[in-house]
């Protein structure tokens, strides 16, 4: 009994010493608090990404039975991705479809964001917000499948049009660029709305009223006042939508039906289907570079222009 008490008091003493010790060393405590996060980031992000970059310069070889690559330094994977006509087509599809998706999402999202920011009725705002948020948080897989139900040959849209006798044969709405684009637009629109909403809301409505009272028509007010002032939000929306679609995987993998492929699908095919790690890694590095270029490069470039324009 006695020894337990002695042990307990010595433990308490050690603890309080430890706390006093830590109090005096805030830097050490901060490092201690950061340690788990940094551990996770280093071991599941930094090291894997670095090794992905390294392996993208290796040579694929079926002779190496265990790993299927030879450790050398070669650019052949990148050369193949950027010269082979099939891979070039996939890269072009990725960039082109994403550009269309971004533009359409912006045109569709802007009015809704405007309504969300400016509607006087709390009911309308609540309804719009709820729909946007629910779509935003519903996973890609579910949404893609929902689109398949609508776009199939025997899907809702085709059957409705046939029963209305507008068309006689079902239209091909998926397993092509159109289907992929539609699903991606569905993914981008909530993103666009949420990033535009804030910057439209922060525009002083008096400015619009002033323009209107000076005789400007609604369209003029929009083009001369609202749109220029909301440009920072527009830039963010473009960046998020474009970077998001370039990296899209689920929509092209399902609604592309093996015909339309994005670079992400090339990564998956090479890594998982044929275990060609070097080529798959190179494709992943290409996507990674494109998205970094969009997010950081475009942001720098466009934001500067926007700021210069506003001033």
């Amino acid at each position: 009994m006695h020894s337990i008490i002695i042990q307990a008091t010595s433990m308490i003493r050690t603890c309080s010493r430890l706390i006093a010790f830590l109090r005096r060393r805030p830097k050490f405590v901060a490092m201690l608090l950061l340690a788990p996060t940094l551990f996770i980031f280093v071991f599941t992000l930094i090291i894997p990404l670095s090794s992905l970059m390294v392996i993208s310069f290796y040579r694929y070889s079926l002779l190496e039975l265990r790993v299927l690559y030879v450790q050398t330094f070669t650019l052949e994977n990148y050369i193949k991705l950027l010269t082979d006509s099939l891979y070039l087509r996939y890269l072009w599809d990725t960039l082109e479809v994403s550009a269309i998706v971004t533009m359409v999402s912006l045109v569709m999202g802007y009015p809704v964001a405007y309504l969300l920011a400016r509607s006087k009725s709390a009911r309308v705002r609540g309804l719009v917000f709820t729909v946007v948020i629910i779509t935003f948080f519903t996973g890609g897989m579910v949404r893609v499948y929902a689109w398949m139900l609508l776009l199939q040959d025997s899907g809702v849209i085709n059957r409705t049009l046939i029963s209305l006798r507008i068309i006689t044969e079902p239209m091909r709405l998926m397993y092509n660029e159109f289907g992929v684009a539609v699903a991606l637009i569905h993914w981008c629109v909530p993103l666009v709305i949420l990033s535009l909403f804030g910057s439209i809301q922060s525009i002083n409505p008096d400015l619009e009223d002033a323009a209107r009272s000076l005789g400007a028509a609604d369209l003029q007010v929009f083009l001369r006042v609202t749109l220029p002032l909301s440009l920072p939000g527009v830039v963010t929306a473009i960046i998020l939508a474009y970077a998001g679609s370039v990296a899209a995987f689920v929509a092209p993998a399902t609604l592309g039906g093996g015909v339309v492929k994005f670079m992400s699908n090339v990564v998956y095919d090479r890594m998982i289907r044929t275990t060609n790690y070097p080529l798959g890694s190179a494709a992943a590095v290409v996507i990674f570079s494109i998205s970094l270029a969009i997010i950081y490069g475009a942001q720098q470039l466009l934001m500067k222009k926007v700021k210069a324009g506003v001033e």
């Binding site: 992000l45 894997p48 719009v128 729909v131 996973g139 499948y145 995987f249 993998a253 790690y277 998205s291």
Partner: protein, 268 residues
């Protein structure tokens, strides 16, 4: 007055179109999952036939179990880790804090395919064969920026004099944490937890690289179903995932008010 309304017709048309565009696929999927025979929309009668088939498929039950287990683990881990990190970032002077903060949002910026691809090779190289730790690591990584940002946002608005008062009145560090700090930041923690859970539960792009024949999550199962066959049970499975996500949103709305929540989550 009439002219004003005519001018605004294109505007309202786009808004209405966008609204239908956003809402219709999900409504169609949910309603279709209740159709009695072949998948039709609108269903002629409501039936639970395909839901019944779905819940009798062993692979669905297994995937559901795995999704929930991984989401729970990922939520708890990313919550604890995010909390510690948020305290360090908000309350301590750290050199290069801005740089560190943007570094910690990297998982949001880096495409899921890139993370998935890098982890496939990496885990093979270090000899991790079991899919469970792989998936868990990926999910923790993708959920942690959300928990970190949500909790940081809560801590920034925190009145620290409350903690000092508790300390002055003789409370120790643990007591202050339990009685003062945690109760005050509780809404932020709940939002972060729901955010992390929803992220993990819906995660596909990264997971698709890391699953195996025995260990797979619900979105991955759905993915392989849609790419291999068009089966009526997929509608019920999608509707099921959608309804779970929906109920998470409704719970958050009831607990916190959704405007508040979005502000905290720091959606750009």
């Amino acid at each position: 007055m009439k002219k004003v309304i005519i001018n605004k017709i294109p505007y309202y048309l786009i808004v209405a179109f966008c609204f239908i565009f956003l809402a219709s696929p999900l409504i169609v999927a949910v309603l279709t999952s209740f159709s009695p025979g072949v998948l039709t929309f609108p269903p002629k009668a409501l039936s639970l036939r395909w839901w019944n088939v779905l819940f009798n498929r062993p692979e669905f039950i297994e995937a559901l179990r795995m999704s929930i287990v991984i989401a729970l683990y990922a939520t708890v881990i990313s919550l604890i880790v995010g909390f510690l990190c948020a305290i360090a970032l908000v309350r301590y002077h750290i050199k290069g804090k801005d740089l560190l903060q943007s570094f910690l949002t990297l998982p949001l910026v880096i495409p899921g395919v890139v993370i998935g691809a890098s982890l496939v090779y990496y885990f093979a190289a270090i000899g991790v064969i079991d899919s469970f730790p792989k998936l868990l690591a990926a999910h923790v990584l993708s959920a942690s920026p959300y928990t970190l940002r949500t909790i940081s946002a809560t801590l920034i608005g925190f009145d620290r004099t409350l903690e000092e008062a508790a300390m002055n009145l003789g409370a120790d560090v643990i007591q202050t944490l339990r009685k003062i700090t945690l109760p005050i930041i509780k809404p932020g923690l709940i939002a972060a937890a729901i955010f992390a859970f929803a992220t993990s539960f819906n995660e596909l792009t990264c997971s698709v690289f890391l699953t195996s024949v025995n260990v797979f999550t619900l979105p991955v199962l759905l993915f392989s179903w849609t790419t291999h066959q068009m089966d009526p049970t997929i509608a019920s499975a999608s509707a099921f995932i959608f309804l779970i996500t929906l109920s998470l949103i409704v719970i958050t709305e009831k607990l916190l008010g959704i405007n508040n929540w979005i502000g905290r989550a720091g959606i750009r």
